[in-house]
Amino acid sequence: MKWLKENLFSSWPSGIATLVIVWLALAYLPPFFEWAFVDAIWRADDPRACRDAQGRGACWAFIGEKHRFILFGTYPFEQHWRPAAASLLLVLLWIISAMKIFWRWWLSLIWIAGLSVIGFLMWGGALGLPYVENERWGGLILTLILATFGCALAFPLAILLALGRRSSLPVVRALCVGCIELIRGVPLISVLFMASVMLPLFLPAGVTVDKLLRAQLALILFIAAYLAETVRGGLQAVPHHQYEAADALGLGYWKRTLFVILPQALRVSIPPLMNTFIALFKDTSLVLIIGLFDLLSTIKVSLQDPAWSGFGVEAYLFASAVYFVFCYAMSAYSQQLERDVASGVPRALRET
């Protein structure tokens, strides 16, 4: 009772707000609940059952019918276990990388081994697995691959760009500022267009780069520009006396940067870095516009089947749920890290 009074009816406006929210919930939640669960069609062999219920109940049978295509795209049907295993393995790699006890140098070896296995599973071509060219990759694994390699390769590039932007050499600085600001000033779509239409023109006749790789390159460049600004923020947070101390020890530029400045800078920029990674994960969905079969793309294509058209709301709610699970996990993890970092950072850094 006391809790109610303090948290819901502490003043007149607060009380009115509570009543309005409760009224809205009573008005809209039961119909939604009925649509999504009670009257929903969960299994159906043909879309007619769904058509009959349309408007009253959701058609989750659509997801059931199309789940193989949504998750694996145009990958050969009888080989679907391969992208499934690869997706699981990739998620597993992410999970163990999030645990502190695995933050050792050999984690990189685990990643190299893991990615080799994933590459082998996806391409095949040996040990009895038929070869599958990457034009046929699609669905969830494509989203995961784009995000993983996007993070992994953009990060070193971003560090170089950030260091370049703070360099004392004017030419290096100008080039880095130019790159970062140019990419940050334009929408991702235009960078993706550039990679998909302009890159082939840049290369000598006869040399082709496959579509997946081009999209990956665009994502890496785009995200590196944003990560670079985050890393620069971290670099600026390192107090000046740390630079002076490193100089006094007689360390050169690279030793000073690698062993003194970067470890401190990256530590304070972990939470914003995680936010940028989440943004990258969401941005992978844009490859749909240049015709790659990522998760969102396979869902959109499933809707074009005339027998099952018209269940867009269900399909996009499903897409939202999948993306939400991944992004929410990452953001919850990043908040946890933020608390750890806040408690682990030396006082001198926290005060600046």
Binding site: N7, T18, P200, L296, Y323, Y328
Partner: protein
């Protein structure tokens, strides 16, 4: 010192060489594919219709330049409206998250978590589907408020002295929002508001507790304290990240191409497909967005200096 200049000259030469290599390849490729280069195509007849021409008169007989102008006007229309509504909604949600009312603050937190963790493109498709598939036709349009009609042909709002009426198969009069525009606007506003809410919350929380206590002890109510003590001080912390949200919203409006709203990117895309002049098309897109980005940052920097200065003068 001398060595570093040498290294820089080397770097510059390497970058120049790579650019020259790309340029010469491009010239060869264009010649082989018989694609013209240069911006002469801008003066030619576009030959395609544009679904929405709100502020600039346009027909298929007009030039590509005019078509791109219409696209730019459409981008500006959705971006300006989006910034306005997203600021309003985001501020409300941000303040709601700080409300002492448990239900309200949890509701706001749930909203923020939901919209921030789902890709904007998914949200746009969702809203577009809701409007174009789930809303009824114009004859049985939903009528939640007098003069406001929601149908699968779009959203119709009343203007002073001009109320939408059903005539034939669609509404006429009032302000008509096409399904594409409405979906894009709703998606951009709800998505960006989630980010703005967090900025507003962080800004308000950054005001020292003592200031709030002082405001209350002077007899100000919560509203007065917010209006006169907290928000003016929070604003200084809010403006820089808010600028980047406005820029993000403007850049995100380019996702219009995915749901068929004829914004600049969408029109430029059609132009590229028709003329084959991809480099020029992308150059136009990039030049326009860079100009917009740089001018919004310049304006917000000016505004930021102004509010910072006023605070310092007191």
């Amino acid at each position: 010192m001398k060595k570093s200049w040498l290294a820089q000259a080397g770097l510059l030469a390497a970058v120049g060489l790579v650019l020259w290599y790309f340029a010469s390849n491009t010239a060869q490729n264009l010649e082989a594919r018989k694609i013209a280069s240069g911006f002469a195509f801008l003066a030619r007849e576009a030959g395609f219709e544009i679904g929405e021409t709100s502020s600039i008169a346009y027909s298929a007989a007009d030039t590509y330049l005019r078509a791109l102008g219409v696209g730019l006007a459409n981008t500006a229309r959705v971006a300006l409206a989006g910034i306005l509504f997203a600021t309003f909604l985001g501020t409300l949600v941000g303040l709601a998250r700080l409300s002492p009312n448990w239900l309200l603050s949890k509701l706001a937190a749930g909203y923020v978590e939901t919209v921030r963790n789902i890709p904007l493109l998914v949200q746009l498709f969702f809203w577009y589907t809701i409007i174009s598939e789930s809303l009824p036709g114009p004859e049985d349009a939903l009528n939640p408020l007098p003069g406001v009609f929601l149908s699968n042909r779009g959203i119709f709002l009343p203007l002073p002295g001009d109320v939408p009426v059903l005539s034939g198969f669609n509404f006429s009069g009032g302000m008509a929002l096409t399904p594409e525009f409405a979906a894009l606007l709703i998606g951009l506003v709800t998505y960006t508001a989630g980010f703005i809410a967090e900025i507003v919350r962080a800004g308000v929380l950054s005001v020292p507790r003592g200031q709030v206590d002082a405001a209350y002890s002077m007899g100000l109510e919560r509203r007065g304290a917010l209006r006169y003590i907290i928000l003016p001080q929070a604003l200084r912390l809010i403006v820089p990240p808010m600028t980047s949200q406005y820029l993000n919203l403007t850049k995100n409006s380019s996702l219009a191409v995915a749901i068929g709203y004829p914004d600049l990117v969408s029109v430029a895309n059609t132009t590229m497909n028709q003329t084959g002049q991809a480099i020029e098309g992308i150059a136009v897109i990039m030049a326009v967005y860079l100009t917009i980005s740089l001018s919004i940052s310049a304006f917000m920097n000016w505004y930021n200096r102004r509010i910072a200065l006023r605070g310092a003068a007191r």
